[in-house]
């Protein structure tokens, strides 16, 4: 068993929920879970982390804006200091941006988007979907240090109080070769990759305004709005929402496919959802082959009725 270093992602002073999932996993499979926080307010973040049980927290406070090269330095310093043989992070745009560069520098193997991580015969063994979910691959990581990012929502974060030692790392921060200058929030929308509930629309939604009933239900259920490729290609909704082959692969608790026929590229991206509900006018649509509950009907008639009922209890 080995020390595991967990990169805890923060944005605008907030911990990303899925980073807590990585801490929970680290506690399960490692002997010590050490969290790395790169944030000007890292001490505040470290206090919040206590509830999730890391054995130690390393902080790096000197990096003003996100920069893949500066974050890489911080991570490398933390790996050296901790002697960790496993580096874990949640599968996010930030983690997959700078962590592979750090892994390559250390001549280390990395697996992204893992659904399962365990230690077997002293090696890190991971399971991940490949070919956009059409195949599941089991990989052993053979390098001295193993790098893994895990898919959000797969390992639920568990609270476990601890009183970790908090230590600030001395890192010489390079002049960034690439740096974030600003971020534009499209909205405060939850990303599909992190949502427990996804209400998703396809060709049957018929236009941008057709997504409104989907949005209403998603908001009520605290979920996100997803879309098929044809809805995105028709420019009814932005690509951020796309689920499937050229979009995101998701594993929510509930996926509601509205007016989505269910092409193989779409199914590959969402068939690992725990529950799938499909609403489609076409009784022969392939989506019904994988739906736990299928409604043959018009989404514009069924959804508002359903929303009404949900409102009554969520009132």
């Amino acid at each position: 068993m080995s020390n595991i270093l967990v990169f805890v992602e923060t944005r605008q002073g907030k911990i990303r929920k899925s980073s807590l999932e990585a801490i929970t996993l680290a506690k399960k499979i490692g002997s010590k879970a050490i969290a790395l926080v790169v944030d000007a307010d890292a001490d505040k973040i470290a206090t919040e982390l206590k509830e999730y049980g890391p054995d130690a927290v390393y902080t790096v406070k000197g990096i003003k804006n996100y920069s893949p090269d500066a974050y890489r330095e911080a991570l490398s310093a933390a790996i050296e200091k901790s002697g960790a043989k496993i580096v874990l992070a949640s599968q996010t745009a930030m983690a997959t941006d700078f962590i592979p560069a750090a892994a390559a520098k250390l001549n280390a193997g990395m697996v992204t988007d893992a659904l399962e991580v365990k230690i077997d015969g002293g090696k890190v063994v991971t399971r991940k979907p490949i070919y956009a979910g059409k195949v599941l691959a089991d990989y052993a990581i053979n390098s001295d240090i193993a790098f893994v990012t895990i898919r959000p929502n797969v390992y639920p974060a568990e609270s476990a109080a601890s009183s970790p030692a908090v230590e600030e790392l001395a890192v010489s921060i390079p002049v960034p070769k690439a740096e974030a200058k600003e971020t534009k929030s499209a909205s405060d929308e939850l990303d599909v990759s992190e949502a427990d509930v996804i209400i998703s629309g396809g060709r049957g939604v018929k236009g941008p305004e057709g997504f409104e009933p989907l949005k209403e239900l998603a908001t009520l259920l605290g979920g996100a709005v997803g879309a098929s490729r044809s809805a995105v290609d028709s420019e009814w909704i932005s690509h951020q929402h796309q689920v499937g082959q050229t979009g995101k692969t998701v594993s929510p608790v509930l996926y509601v496919a509205c007016g989505i026929s269910g092409k193989i590229q779409h199914l590959a991206g969402m068939s690992s959802s725990k529950y799938i509900i499909a609403i489609n006018k076409d009784a022969e649509a392939p989506i019904f082959d994988i739906a736990d509950f299928g409604i043959v009907g018009d989404l514009f008639q069924v959804l508002p009725e359903l929303t009404k009922k949900v409102k009554e209890v969520k009132g």
């Binding site: 592979p100 892994a103 990395m110 979907p129 740096e179 990759s193």
Partner: protein, 258 residues
Amino acid sequence: MNIFVFVKHVPDTEARIKIDSSGKNIATADITFMDSPYDEFAVEQALLLAEANEGSVVTAVTIGSEDAKQLLRDNLAKGVNEVVHINSDKFGQFDALTTAKIIAAFLKDKEYDLVLFGNKAYGADNSLVPSMVAGLLDVAQINLVTKMEISGKSVKAERQVEGMTEIMEASMPCVISAQKGLNEPRMKSLKGIMAAKKKEIPSISVGDVIPESELTMGIEVLSLQNPAAKEGGKKFEGEPVDAATELFKYMREEIKIV
């Protein structure tokens, strides 16, 4: 500007993927290969940048078997200036680290301003190679790019992160990985196809780029499997109000989500 764009041929994304008898590779006998979907955005961006910056040279590079040459011919037909085929029959078995090492070794003695990739290849779906190459070459990188502009020696680009757009600035040389939305990939022109037919595709071997002894892989495939087919469950056809009642009951009693 010197622009390199790395492309990969992958199984047709419409095809079902089967596992071969070893249980460690996919069966490739019945499938046709195509350009990996995100690579087309990278190629298009290279061509657009070259058109906007006179005197630029776009070189498309692929690693793969003899068959992969077709991909380079397709890219010549779209308008890339140069192509290089790095020949390897083992490419399908290389992990991201090995691929990144070959690419970094290939680029090391070249002059390059931009190195473009698709943000991930259909297949391992890892999104690792661009960042690993940037790490090995110690150059700037911006991934998941949906918009970019060049001024002098710097790149300004927008990238998609969860629920946000992040605006990045980087100095060249820079590795860029393309996300859908960056541009609209062009089709091959008939004239381009004819011209590309006559062109020689230069081929080198992996061993010409990097000693094989340096290609230790970071990960090993233990097994591949097709996920268990999900069975369809109940189906309801009837009045919308009744459908909604059934659905609500299911969400409340079965999924316990409301």
